[in-house]
Amino acid sequence: MATDNKQFVMEFHDSPSASAAPLEGDMSNSGPSNVPNVPLNGSNLYPSTLDEPVKDTILRDVKAVGVKFYHVFIPRSSKSLLRDWDLWGPLILCTFLATLLQGHSSAGSNDGGPQFAQVFIVFWVGACAVTLNAKLLGGDISFFQAICVLGYCVLPLLLSLIGCRIILLASRSLVLFIVRCCLVLLGLSWSVFASTAFLASSQPPNRKALAVYPVCLFYFVISWMILSHSG
């Protein structure tokens, strides 16, 4: 009985021993893994980040976001990446996307593009719907992890939007439209590939297509909004 206490004993750290001796040395696998190895003493279980300079705090989060952006380009299923989810990246990407996609709603122009709020809603409600779907089908990924992955994988589409904007600075012609199509298609396929590299492994094998299809639909809608944005 004494060896079975690891599940239901109220302890704050993950160590298998139930001793009350103070832990010293490097941190175990609990807690944020991007925190530098700060030696613990007996009273605090997590290193105190309250006293560090603000630059360190900001740089740590920026580095975490940057690492994830890098992993979107070189996608591989990594459990540690999924565990340290954050929603900074999706927020930045969504805001950028919505700002760039915004139509000019002044009275003089004829552009009826989506408003900022519409893009925002489509993005977040879409991500929530896709994540809920993955969870309801029996996937073992947590809600915010999946939203984190979906949000970060919008990065290739954002880059193709920037490319399209640059192309639109030139004159409009059919050839340039086809170039824009190809750019958006490339971004779409990269986004889908990157997100399924993370998400598909969490589904049972006979339902993988059911979980991947809403991801494709989500990115397809975003890429349609990008393609139909004509500056």
Binding site: G103, A107, P114, Q115, L136, R207, L210, L217, S228
Partner: protein, 318 residues
Amino acid sequence: MARSFKDVEYTKVDLNSPHKEFPARDTSVGLDDGDEDDDVHYDRPGSTAGDRAKLIRDGGADGEDGETTEEAAKKPSVLSMAYYQQFFDVDTNQVGKRILSSFVPRPNRNLVSDDIRHSPDLYGPFWVCTTLVFVTAIAGNLADYFQTSAAGGNYVWVYDFRKVTFAATAIYLYWWLVPLLLWAVTWWRQVPEKYAYLELLCLYGYSLSIYIPVSVLCVIQLAAVQWALILLAMALSGTVLALSLWPSVSSGERRTAVGLLTAAMLLHAALAVGFKLYFFHVTSGGGGSASSPATPAYSGRTSATTRAAATTRKTPSG
């Protein structure tokens, strides 16, 4: 085996190993190790031990006890994820098979009793409806673009988000309101073999699936082609719908059965025709309707009077 409480600092309850002296508590949290004894699986609700276990498990909240299957003995609460997971219990090939048989009418097959009844799901209907919303809105945009650029107008491509909201409202309302009305009428009329609401939802959701490729094809700017496609889709999916609904409604009174079936077919036709007229109308005047700016249907939401607003709903005269 029994400890006094002063020997330990806190009580440790290990629910993973079977406690022989607390048989009811083993089943109360539903932890299934796979090697539990048979006497802790209470699947007959009549037994008193089973009732006690169920009471402990559900807190007495679970009242209805119609089924005697094992799933009923472990019914999850409405607030848990497991409750909703039972509606998504399908595999890829099941969904594909259901979609396929929703527009291929076969006289002896009933979509509900053959395919759906044993495990109705909400995955297929929901994603079919969502896909249809976006595909119809996008195809409607494309159709407008081709129409006005063929008419020679200097059309700046716009993305009319209002089409998406209109399509979403129409499709989702049709998807859950019509089965609700159907179910309510069969319940009111006490039709003996009425379908459950979930099965009707499933049936109606899958029956919309043929409109997805039809919407894409309706981008072709020929009125004859568009009407032919719409009528074909209506006929196919309407037949499957009728074949599935008839065994159920015909078990009641004849008048109710005929009335219900007619109403269902009429609503199905109305949806298809309404979509064709709103999203894909080809005017015979050659761009007369598209180049004149009409007042937007929603005032105060967007201040732009776009050219796309010219395609708000009006029936073509031709």
